[in-house]
């Protein structure tokens, strides 16, 4: 085996966290508390931006398992009864998509505020609150959909089709509630001026993923139920 003595890798100057307002979407650089320059100069994605992809992958696998269960269960039985999806689901869809838009608006506002580019942004959290509100409305809307179905006599155990409807929508709603928890965490951090950019990015990715996942679930339920 050849001897392998190398210098530590060179730092790519283009990937350095900047000290000013340019190149990094105007974010103030996070200088480590212990003043260790080596930490500041060595660049890598913060763990939360890798971590969020790991989380999203696990959620994808979970819903893939539910999907395959639905397909197999429907294909292997004669007792499947289709029903019409409650129309409020389409309204809920719009709410969730709108919340993704407001979250993007708030990201830009927060970036401008944190970068000091626009100090006139008085309440950078306002759009985050709007996103939170839309998210809560979505969950409430899902609850209305469940109530409408149960009013029609379709419960969890009534038919495999209704079983899958409740399981898929409830699991998704639980994940949305997790996203709302993330938004509350971001708002709290922002109010203390301790928000990291990576935290907001990870939360936003999660939130957008909830929207995409919901579109997929709606399509699946629409086709299969």
């Amino acid at each position: 085996m050849a001897t392998t003595v190398h210098e530590p890798p060179q730092i790519d100057p283009h990937r350095l966290p900047d000290q000013g307002h340019s190149g990094n979407f105007g974010w103030r650089n996070l200088v480590p508390a212990d003043g260790d320059l080596r930490v500041a100069l060595d660049y890598s994605p913060p763990p939360s931006s890798t971590g969020i992809w790991v989380v999203l992958f696990a959620i994808t696998m979970m819903f893939a398992a539910f999907t395959s269960a639905l397909v197999v269960r429907k294909g292997s039985s004669l007792d499947w009864q289709s029903f019409t999806l409650p129309s409020i689901l389409y309204f809920n869809t719009l709410l969730l998509l709108a919340s993704s838009v407001t979250l993007e608006v708030s990201r830009r506002r927060v970036a401008a505020f944190m970068g000091g580019l626009n100090s006139q942004v008085e309440s950078p959290a306002r759009w985050l609150y709007i996103t939170l509100f839309l998210g809560l409305l979505f969950v409430a809307g899902q609850y209305v959909a469940w109530s409408q179905l149960s009013a029609k006599g379709l419960y969890l155990a009534t038919n495999p089709s209704s079983s899958f409807f409740y399981v898929l929508t409830a699991t998704h709603a639980l994940h949305v509630l997790g996203g709302l928890g993330g938004l509350i965490y971001v708002i709290r951090k922002l109010s203390k001026s301790a928000l990291r950019r990576s935290t907001l990015v990870a939360t936003a990715r999660y939130w957008h993923f909830m929207g995409v996942l919901w579109l997929y679930l709606l399509l699946l339920l629409w086709i299969k139920l």
């Binding site: 085996m1 003595v5 890798p9 890798t50 971590g51 398992a65 269960a69 197999v72 292997s76 969890l156």
Partner: protein, 591 residues
């Protein structure tokens, strides 16, 4: 690559934060190890009960009636209780020993140190990971004391038995619900662990630590965490569906018009094969989740004791990756007799035979690297060799079972039991033992007793072969598995073999007490360990023993070398540490 400080938490001072609800990956690693140890003892005692019953059917086991009055009246277990103990033995061993000890315990302790990080990136999730797993263990154990005891459906919990409720037999009501809840919780714990392992490996490596400079043990944990992320995320929804079939009256897994114990079940249209698909999509990768950390650990230990790197670092890593990917394509080989389409059997048989290729490459790399090396014989290297022996002996029978035509004959026999106990169970256990003897000095700051370690090895090694090799013979003789007695049937002539196995199991199990004594005695009274007692090269040996709270005492190591620079001439000996800037020449270059 990064030198991100994972976080800047200060060392805790209170007992609770330091030793119980600790955020420190090293403490969490030790907690996982303790959990694995307790679970292994419970699982082993259960196997003793089963073995005694199989060999001497009417023998009363003192005290067993205290565990279950109805299941073991007068200390003699009923056939149902035999199955309940068997289910718990399998579940405890597969989940709470083979997954927690080599992956979660050693991985938690050493992965961050081997990559040069201060801690995992999400220490709170890491703490939750352990406590959720611990809760899962308690929930599983509680089923011994609830209703008519734990479930009897085997660790695979096949449908429809897992979903019909108490009409299916003792433990099929509350027992199954507790089992499924426990495993769902376990999945949450392992998903949180995988999140930390993956991000630690990808984002927290110190300067100079490229992926290919990671030690093989770190690669083992990293690949395993990727597998865990995929597998546990599928098992969890399956468990949720089982629980719903029980408590909410849904029909995911129970077919229409099923009559059980003269009772027509209210479910309709469920798919029994669905459970097998969901379970084995997790279940087969789980086998590799149990064994891959062992492959990494054993390679790491062998290299240190051979004083030379493996023939090919890269090929070993790629083979481990190939094992991981292929493990998801072979799961249907557990279902050859399930009644699925025979063409599906062929489709699953092919990758099953293909997966023997990376396995063989790994074994060949070990063998040819060992050839001609001056192996240092100690407890760790002996158990590493034992691991290879078990992996090969158990793996060879896999060639037979991979073929549907042979598997149909052998599937429900002791041949399969022997196969998986050797290749997955005992091999992984030997990996745990090897890791313990190797890393104990770093974890506890003291050396283990080598003489006791070697006695422990030889008793375990010989004992294991005495137990599991006859299983293959029993299987070929047609000895079905999951029967609690063989007294009045055609299997009676095989009883002497069962008695031999039982005696071997009791002795081998008792030999583990030597290990336990060594572990506890060395923890308090062992010889103090130096920072690098094995003259090893990776980062865990470059820091103090035991490692300080932030692993490297406020410094950030810089990596200059590949992980295994042995057989060189340096200022410290025949090796150069990863963190040493010293320029050295290998013996090969000298010539």
């Amino acid at each position: 690559m990064s030198a991100h400080a994972a976080h800047h938490h200060v060392p805790p001072t209170s007992f609770i934060r330091k030793h119980v609800f600790s955020l420190d990956h090293k403490v969490i690693g030790k907690q996982y190890y303790a959990l694995g140890l307790v679970a292994a003892l419970v699982g082993m005692v259960l196997s003793w009960f089963m073995r005694i019953h199989l060999a001497w059917t009417n023998a009363a086991i003192p005290g067993l009636q205290l565990l279950s009055k109805n299941g073991a009246p007068g200390g003699v277990m009923t056939p149902e209780y035999y199955l309940q103990l068997m289910t718990m033995h399998g579940t405890i061993m597969v989940f709470f020993v083979l997954t927690t000890a080599p992956f979660a315990a050693f991985g938690n302790f050493f992965l961050p140190i081997q990559v040069g990080a201060e801690d995992m990136p999400f220490p709170r999730f890491n703490m939750m990971s352990f406590w959720v797993t611990f809760t899962a263990f308690l929930v599983l154990m509680s089923s011994f004391f609830v209703g008519d005891g734990p479930t009897l459906g085997g660790w695979t919990q096949y449908a429809p038995l897992n979903a019909v409720g108490s009409v299916g037999g003792p433990g099929q009501g509350a027992g199954v619900v507790l089992w499924a809840a426990s495993i769902a919780l376990f999945c949450v714990g392992q998903l949180l662990g995988s999140l930390n392992f993956i991000t630690t490996t990808l984002d927290l490596r110190v300067k100079g630590m490229s992926l290919m400079r990671l030690p093989l043990s770190a690669w083992g944990w990293f690949i395993t965490s990727c597998m865990g992320l995929t597998a546990f995320a599928v098992l969890m929804p399956a468990c949720i569906l089982v629980i719903l079939d029980h408590v909410a009256g849904t029909s995911f897994f129970v077919a229409s018009n099923l009559v059980m114990n003269d009772q027509l079940l209210p479910h309709s249209g469920g798919s029994t094969l669905l459970w097998q698909h969901l379970f084995w999509f997790f279940g087969h990768p789980e086998v590799y989740i149990a064994i891959l950390p062992g492959i990494g650990i054993v390679s790491h230990i062998l290299i240190t004791n051979m004083r030379k790197p493996m023939l090919s670092h890269r090929v070993l890593i790629y083979s481990m990756g190939a094992l991981a990917v292929l493990s998801y394509m072979v799961y249907g080989h557990h279902m050859f007799v399930s009644g699925m389409n025979p063409f599906s059997s062929l489709a699953f048989s092919f990758p099953t035979l293909v997966i023997t290729i990376p396995s063989t490459i790994v074994v060949l790399i070990w063998t040819f690297s060992l050839y001609g090396s001056k192996l240092r014989i100690n407890s760790a290297s002996l158990f590493a060799l034992g691991f290879i022996s078990m992996f090969v002996s158990g793996g060879v029978s896999g060639f037979f079972l991979a073929q549907p035509s042979i598997d149909i004959m052998l599937h429900a026999t002791y041949f399969v039991v022997g196969h998986f106990h050797m290749v997955m169970g005992v091999a992984a256990m030997f990996g745990i033992f090897a890791g313990t003897y190797f890393w104990f000095p770093k974890m506890a700051g003291r050396m283990m007793n080598e003489t006791l370690g070697k006695i422990h090895f030889w008793l375990s090694f010989v004992g294991t072969y005495c137990i599991f090799m006859p299983f293959h013979y029993l299987g070929m003789a047609g000895n079905v598995r999951r029967y609690s007695t063989f007294v009045d049937d055609f299997l009676q002539p095989l009883i002497p073999v069962h008695r031999f196995i039982t005696v071997a199991a009791l002795i081998t199990g008792a030999a583990q007490l030597i290990f336990l004594y060594n572990l506890i005695h060395s923890r308090f009274w062992g010889k103090p360990a130096t920072d690098n007692p094995w003259e090893a090269t990776s980062l865990e040996w470059s820091t103090a023993t035991p490692p300080p709270f932030d692993n490297f005492g406020g410094k950030h190591p810089v990596v200059y070398h590949d992980p295994y620079q042995y057989g060189v001439q340096s200022s410290v000996g025949d090796y150069v540490m990863q963190t040493s800037p010293e320029q050295v020449k290998t013996e090969h270059e000298e010539k």
